[in-house]
């Protein structure tokens, strides 16, 4: 009897916990589908009685957030590609070639230590550099800063994937008369492709979500990213909640979809590859 009671209790706890974690998002989506009239009803409705996608149109076209979305994609894709390329150039020698352990651990340790720096402390000097170089409010400035800031993550993830490839596989290619470049091109690269893709998705999601750098280094819709726009909706147009919620949903949607594809690598990404899924 006591066992049944405990079991029932644990299930109740689990269901309540799940509800607490899911409900806020549900309510965000509901709000984004409400018409203005429904928004200001005295009792907030818990589901949209007359669902409309007008708020999405309003955000993307009337407020021209489509341009910001475009900026976010450009910045995210460029910074991700750059970070992956650089990370690969760093990880290949430290995982596949006999680099001294001291140098190897210095590189990795240095990368991990960057994770501890608060972005605000870093952005203060970057702000000065960017203004001096005439890159203020320019997309390239964001690309450079994002590349540097997410490089540690890319390095650690790629390192994890590259060191999983057995040395024997590459050596076999070398013994068979291939040179190192061929071994890289035909053995390492294909074997590492899943890892590269996973790292790319995670890094892109981080770039996509970044707020502080973009908020400080951009000023106009010409180079603003989507999260900065959403923040603007919050502070300036508090009353227009359905638009704000629609902006939130769009901001969420892209990383969410990507993460569903790369779900086996999310934890690895968040812990710098220290914890890996089987």
């Amino acid at each position: 009897m006591a066992r049944i009671a405990t079991r029932a209790l644990t299930w109740v706890i689990l269901i309540v916990a799940l509800a607490i974690f899911v409900f806020p998002l549900y309510y965000l989506i509901v709000t984004s589908l409400k018409s203005k009239a429904e928004l200001f009803q005295a009792i907030p409705t818990l589901y949209p009685h007359n669902p409309t996608i007008a708020p999405y149109f309003s955000v993307l076209f009337t407020r021209q957030f489509l341009g910001l979305l475009f900026n976010s994609v450009i910045v995210g894709v460029s910074a991700t590609a750059l970070a992956l390329a650089i990370a690969f150039a760093i990880c290949y020698p430290i995982t596949r070639l006999p680099v001294r352990p001291g140098l190897r651990s210095f590189v990795l340790n240095w990368a991990l230590s960057l994770r501890f720096l608060p972005p605000i402390a870093v952005v203060i000097p970057y702000f000065t550099i960017v203004r001096t170089l005439g890159l203020y409010n320019q997309i390239p400035a964001l690309v450079i800063v994002y590349t540097i800031f997410n490089l540690p993550l890319a390095i650690w993830m790629l390192k994890g994937f590259l060191e999983q490839i057995p040395a024997e596989v590459e050596e076999a290619a070398l013994v068979d008369g291939g040179n190192r470049l061929q071994a890289f091109r035909y053995v390492i690269l294909p074997l590492a492709s899943t890892g590269i893709l996973a790292a790319g998705i995670i890094v892109f999601a981080f770039d996509w979500a970044e707020f502080l750098f973009a908020f400080i280094l951009t000023a106009t819709p010409q180079s603003m990213t989507f999260p900065v726009g959403v923040q603007g909706l919050v502070t300036q147009f508090e009353i227009i909640w359905n638009d704000m919620a629609a902006g939130g949903v769009i901001a969420i949607l892209i990383p969410l979809i990507l993460m569903l594809f790369a779900r086996r690598y999310v934890i690895a990404g968040l812990t710098f590859g220290v914890i890996r899924e089987k």
Partner: protein, 320 residues
């Protein structure tokens, strides 16, 4: 569901990944003995230019911050003036205190709650499909941009139209000013952090529990060990490195917390939720006092580097 189930069949690599790194190196060097020096030269030729470039790009800000902190707005050398102003500012102490309170609320709650939920699911949920559902659900809060998280909780916490206050009003209660009454605001922004990051702790702890060898658990159960003994003497042993890791990453995040607080309270009411990052933001970009802000940035960067050096010693990663 098969795809989802495979995503949910969580196992982890051991906390210390089977490193092919420093330990595996001697074997590899021996196998390619004749090529050793050539290969090592190749490695350095590949590694050093690009790593050097990145290292410089990431280090320049620190140097420039030092330079800027030591000069006036017109570029004259003024010594440690800015550092003096930065460190003697009472508001800095206040910001550090708030950050400390925030961390003390958020870190234990997230870690205990996440660990508890992981144990609960591990012990009660047997269905792989259900585990997969929970796995994906737990991932959702984590991957959401913090700005959007701020939006979500504005919808719940705002006076009048915010869901919680609207419901309170309807049931004849007084409104609660979640974000604008001083003692409550810090807990409200902390609750958002807890909402977003408890699942992160959960996922790591749950993954860790899957690495506990079933034999030792079964043996303990045969001996009549209680659920608590089983946790205390067996599972905790396997989770300890992961707990440290989680603590490490969450600590780094607490010390840099900005986005959702900026959107929810902007540091207010007054400066009661003005954590370290928000304080630096105000000095640098509201007051445009870049001299003092640079001094602060230098101090913060130096402090974090020291903290990192200390904390990373306890990390299970193959960084040493």
């Amino acid at each position: 569901m098969t795809a989802g189930a495979s995503g949910g069949s969580i196992g982890t690599a051991p906390a210390v990944p089977p490193s092919r790194g420093p330990l595996a190196l001697p074997a590899r060097i021996r196998s390619g003995w004749l090529h050793r020096s050539r290969q090592e030269r190749l490695a350095l030729r590949l590694l050093l230019p690009i790593f050097g470039l990145v290292f410089v790009a990431a280090t320049i800000p620190f140097i420039l911050a030092v330079v800027r902190a030591l000069t006036s707005d017109t570029g004259q050398f003024i010594g440690a003036d800015n550092f003096g102003r930065a460190l003697s500012n009472d508001q800095l102490l206040e910001a550090i205190k708030q950050t400390g309170v925030y961390g003390l609320v958020v870190l234990p709650t997230e870690i205990l709650l996440g660990l508890g939920l992981a144990l609960l699911v591990h012990r009660t949920v047997r269905s792989r499909a259900l585990r997969a559902v929970i796995y994906v659900a737990a991932m959702i809060p984590i991957v959401i941009p913090q700005v959007a998280v701020g939006v979500v909780f504005r919808l719940l916490y705002i006076p009048d139209y915010g869901l919680i206050n609207a419901l309170l009003g309807q049931t004849g209660h007084d409104q609660i000013l979640w974000l604008s009454s001083p003692p409550l605001a810090i807990f409200s922004v902390a609750s958002v952090d807890i909402w977003q990051w408890t699942p992160f702790v959960y996922l790591i702890m749950f993954a860790g529990l899957q690495t506990v060898p079933p034999e030792s658990v079964e043996a303990a159960q045969l001996d009549g060990a209680s659920s608590w003994t089983q946790f205390r003497h067996i599972e905790l042993f396997y989770l300890r490195p992961l707990l440290l890791l989680v603590f490490f990453f969450r600590l780094a995040d607490v010390l840099r917390v900005f986005d959702h607080v900026f959107i929810l309270t902007g540091g207010g009411p007054g400066t009661t939720t003005e954590f370290l990052s928000l304080y630096l933001y105000r000095i640098a970009f509201r007051f445009s006092d870049l001299g003092q802000a640079s001094a602060l940035a230098v101090v913060v960067m130096a402090f974090m580097t020291v903290l990192y050096t200390v904390v990373s010693r306890f990390l299970p990663a193959d960084t040493t």
